[in-house]
């Protein structure tokens, strides 16, 4: 909510975008964060706020198939884009993450899963980057990261 703290709204913008495959048409304050639109207006609270300044990655979503911190994105900027949130990740795929201990308190977890899911779908990035480097945008304070890294490795399959 920080972006709208300074002054009352001047006007709203009407925008359309795709959210988890569904068409959304919504009026937004130009300073409204995508994170708040998702959580408080579109009833998708699976995306979490950890820091509100793009450091922790708890609010990770994908925009046109690229991971982004939704706390740093004004909602109007996703006009015409395809946005995907944690709610779009199939539950049935997450067994390996659970077994490895990838979640403890769970507050960072949706962001972790979004990044991991993106890596899984773009596994060629592992040819030039380590998994630990690719996951470094998602801060976790509970696991020490081994549970996450092992979980993603098992989920992706194959050695890393």
């Amino acid at each position: 909510m920080q972006t709208t703290a300074s002054n009352p709204a001047a006007s709203t913008l009407q925008i359309a975008f795709s959210l988890n495959g569904q068409a959304i048409d919504i009026a937004v304050d130009p300073r409204e964060r995508l994170l708040d639109t998702l959580r408080y207006r579109l009833n998708l609270p699976g995306t979490k706020e950890g820091c509100g300044e793009g450091e922790c990655g708890a609010c990770t979503v994908t925009i046109d198939d690229l991971p982004a911190n939704s706390c740093l994105v004004p909602t109007f900027q996703v006009r015409g884009c395809s946005v995907r949130t944690i709610e779009s990740v199939p539950k049935a795929e997450l067994g390996p993450m659970l077994a490895a201990g990838a979640t403890q308190c769970g507050a960072c977890t949706p962001g972790v899963v979004m990044t991991a899911h993106w890596i899984k779908q773009h596994s060629q990035v592992l040819e030039s980057q380590t998994l630990r480097a690719l996951m470094a945008g998602n801060l976790c304070r509970c696991t020490g990261y081994d549970g996450i890294i092992d979980g993603v490795r098992r989920w992706i399959g194959g050695p890393q």
Binding site: K48, V89, T103, C105, G106
Partner: protein, 736 residues
């Protein structure tokens, strides 16, 4: 057994407080926010509510709105709920404001000006305060404690050498990923209205006691419920009492539900931190490194109010001599008032600070005697039958010497050492080294604390024969619910599908004590087992305790015979036999048992930048019986990485006594790319008085990494670092 709520966390379905729709009891909810002090100390002269707002549309709470004493109930009750005309630290709560529009509220709160006539703050706990900085007694001391064993003068008289050292540790912020959040509303009850508080917390009964005290209500008219909690690490031990009181006061004044959710910067600035410390060692040793006398001074920065500092200091001094035995010991501890945010509970609770000092000091003793640091540890390490600084006789059958040797083997210590020395001869600017720390952690409350707590657990037998564990112990990520389910299922001979763990709700669960001090599995887990025994006795014939399907049928039969009745077995804490502590003189069994650990760190230091990287880390732990290997391993790995952050990067910067870097951009916790895989080894030695044979695991992992890493940096570079966080700025001058 897999984490019970794991899939709902992985899919984002878990609902933390800020995720919940404003429906049900939260229908018509207002948002609450806090106006805070702009300075460290002084008298409030004026509060100005900004122009341009219709203040009749806001709910404003000032100290005069507090029904009972303006005190946060804890050890000394010296911390006000709202600053009573006088502030003692930056960001102290002054006024509370609520409104339905969260954005408008933010602007309104920002418009409030608090004028303070400043007085000289005490900001450095290491310095003797000037007369105009004295705010408590004659010396600003919050607490003074001492441990005395033998006669240190005798030891110093026999010394081959005396080794001295001063060690410092900094404040640490918890950075639970879910910031503090609380909601409150009013319900009707049989004896009047009931203030219900629901939120993120570790200790529902701490919150309950705080509400009873300041709201002047008995427990029938205050109710505390835990919401899913996204991490705690001690940061949600005492602070939730404050935010719960704020929320309750707003809801009482507004007669509407209120929710307060901190953003990260407010959470970092206004909530508790780990106590900064200064520890001085003066040690008499013989030629072999055997300690003949230990004189240790421990000074903690307590911050502006007493809060938990006396007990943090207590645990700190009891751990200050390390896992060693010495005939002559004098440990003098004090916690000092400063005008900073009150320091509070943080994983380890004083022990990581003093263990950092003693474990770094052991390596410096070795260096002074030109001995191997491992030899100095071996000649002093506690064996069963030896006594600690409080004269506690160590028993339990853990061979700490074997644990050390085994850990060195797992860690490839000798190879690391050889390779590092070879590497350092040839590399132009990188230096590698390896360091060790041997540690202990007292499990459960200190001294007679568990006896005073007198914890209780109920296990309910439900009409369908299933069991429900009713305890105030909270799940905050560490796995309480999963482990209690497993302990209860094993004790009852049940399938885990027939065991449930109730939500901590003070109207439903008895006080099983706070979720702190590595006590949940060991102490409360044992009560779960005993409550099941009690339940089984109630439904058994001839008093024989039933198990498995027979127990289930008996519970079902009991309910058929007693319709509409509740069936519960209750257990109340009983100390293990022969555990005795004199808490006046600090003599005796400071803890019913200790967990033991050995850490080995391999590091690389870049001489150009003075950056330290941990290359390999092994943590071996004796935590009794491991109940759930995935969860226990995760506790150790998470604790080690949190300690790596404390050791190397997590620096709290102050400006005028307040946290200046209160953002995750400037307060640097480790990422996945900053740390290696943490290799964990468990040495299992079941503890008969712990739930499922377990001892505490939560805090031990925090104790060893910082000294092991600094010992490794010393080995790598020849430098003598004695303060953490060992940032490049702090290390560079030591590299010459």
């Amino acid at each position: 057994m897999q984490r019970l709520e794991g899939l709902s966390k992985l899919t984002g379905a878990e609902r933390y407080l800020d995720d919940e729709p404003l429906e049900g009891p939260l229908k018509g909810c207002l948002w609450g926010m806090t106006v805070r002090s702009p300075v460290s100390r002084g008298k409030i002269t004026r509060i100005t509510y900004g122009a341009g707002f219709d203040w009749s549309q806001f709910v404003v709470v000032e100290p005069s709105d507090i029904p009972g004493p303006n005190e946060t109930y804890l050890i000394e009750n010296d911390q006000p709920v709202l600053a009573p005309g006088y502030v003692r630290h930056m960001h102290e709560a002054v006024v509370l404001i609520a409104h339905q529009d969260r954005n408008l509220l933010r602007r309104a709160v920002a418009s409030v000006r608090v004028d303070v006539a400043p007085e000289p703050p005490a900001l450095d706990f290491r310095l003797t305060p000037r007369p105009d900085q004295i705010q408590r007694g004659s010396d600003n001391l919050l607490k003074k404690l001492q441990i005395r064993k033998g006669n240190i003068e005798r030891g110093f008289a026999q010394a081959h050498k005396i080794v001295e050292g001063e060690y410092e540790t900094g404040a640490q912020e918890h950075v639970y990923i879910e910031p503090n959040a609380m909601s409150a509303w009013i319900e009707d009850g049989p004896t009047g209205d009931v203030v219900v508080v629901r939120g993120s917390m570790q200790c529902p009964y701490y919150v309950l006691n705080a509400l009873k005290h300041a709201l002047k209500r008995d427990e029938s008219r205050v109710r505390v419920i835990q919401s899913p909690t996204g991490g705690g690490f001690g940061g949600k031990e005492d602070y939730p009492s404050t935010i719960a009181l704020h929320c309750a006061l707003l809801t009482l004044k507004a007669r509407r539900p209120v929710k307060i959710v901190y953003d990260r910067s407010e959470d970092m600035a206004a909530t508790t931190k780990r106590h900064p410390s200064l520890v001085r060692h003066r040690t008499a040793v013989d030629q072999n490194g055997k300690m003949l006398a230990q004189h240790i001074e421990v000074i903690l920065d307590g911050g502006a109010y007493v809060t938990l500092s006396p007990v943090v200091l207590s645990r700190g001094i009891i751990h200050a001599a390390g896992p060693y035995t010495c005939e002559n010991v004098l440990i003098e501890g004090k916690a000092v008032l400063t005008n900073s945010v009150p320091y509070g509970a943080f994983r380890g609770f004083g022990a990581p600070q003093t263990i950092f000092a003693v474990e770094r000091h052991m390596d410096r003793i070795a260096a002074a005697l030109n001995l191997d640091p491992l030899q100095v540890r071996r000649v002093n390490l506690l064996k069963d039958g030896d006594t600690t600084s409080t004269q506690q006789v160590i028993k339990g059958g853990t061979d700490r010497h074997a644990l050390l040797d085994q850990t060195l083997h797992i860690a490839n210590y000798d190879a690391h050492k050889r390779e590092a020395e070879k590497f350092n001869r040839t590399h132009p600017y990188l230096r590698r080294g390896v360091g060790v720390a041997t540690v202990l952690h007292g499990a459960g409350f200190t001294g007679n604390g568990e006896v005073y707590l007198n914890s209780k657990v109920d296990v309910a037998g439900r009409p369908d024969g299933s069991l429900e564990v009713l305890a105030a112990s909270t799940e905050m990520g560490q796995g309480t619910n999963t482990v209690f389910t497993k302990i209860a299922a094993d004790a009852a001979g049940y399938d885990i599908a027939d065991v449930f763990v109730g939500t901590p709700d003070t109207f439903r669960v008895p006080n099983s004590g706070p979720t702190v001090a590595s006590r949940t599995v060991m102490v409360v887990g044992k009560l779960v087992e005993r409550a099941i025994d009690e339940l089984a006795r109630q439904v058994g014939q001839n008093g024989s305790p039933l198990r498995g399907p027979a127990l289930k049928s008996a519970i079902q039969a009991w309910h058929r015979a007693n319709p509409e009745s509740e069936l519960k077995g209750r257990a109340t804490y009983q100390p293990p036999p022969d555990v005795k502590f004199d808490d006046k003189n600090y003599i005796g069994d400071a803890y019913a048992t200790f967990a033991w650990g050995v850490c080995v760190a391999a590091v690389e230091v870049d001489l150009r930048t003075a950056a330290v990287r941990v290359l390999d880390f092994v943590a071996a732990q004796d935590i009794g019986k491991v109940i759930n290997p995935v969860l226990a391993t995760g506790q150790v790995q998470g604790g080690v990485v949190q300690a790596i952050g404390w050791a190397l990067t997590e620096e709290m910067k102050f400006k005028d006594g307040g946290m200046h870097n209160n953002t995750l951009t400037n307060y640097i916790i480790p990422t996945s790319d900053d740390v290696p895989s943490i290799r964990v080894h468990f040495h299992e030695n079941p503890y008969p008085h712990g739930g499922g044979g377990a001892k505490g695991v939560g805090e031990l992992p925090m104790d060893g990494p910082a000294p092991a890493i600094l010992n490794a940096v010393a080995h790598a570079t020849g430098a003598d670092p004695r303060a953490i966080p060992l940032t490049p700025e702090r290390l560079l001058p030591l590299l010459r």
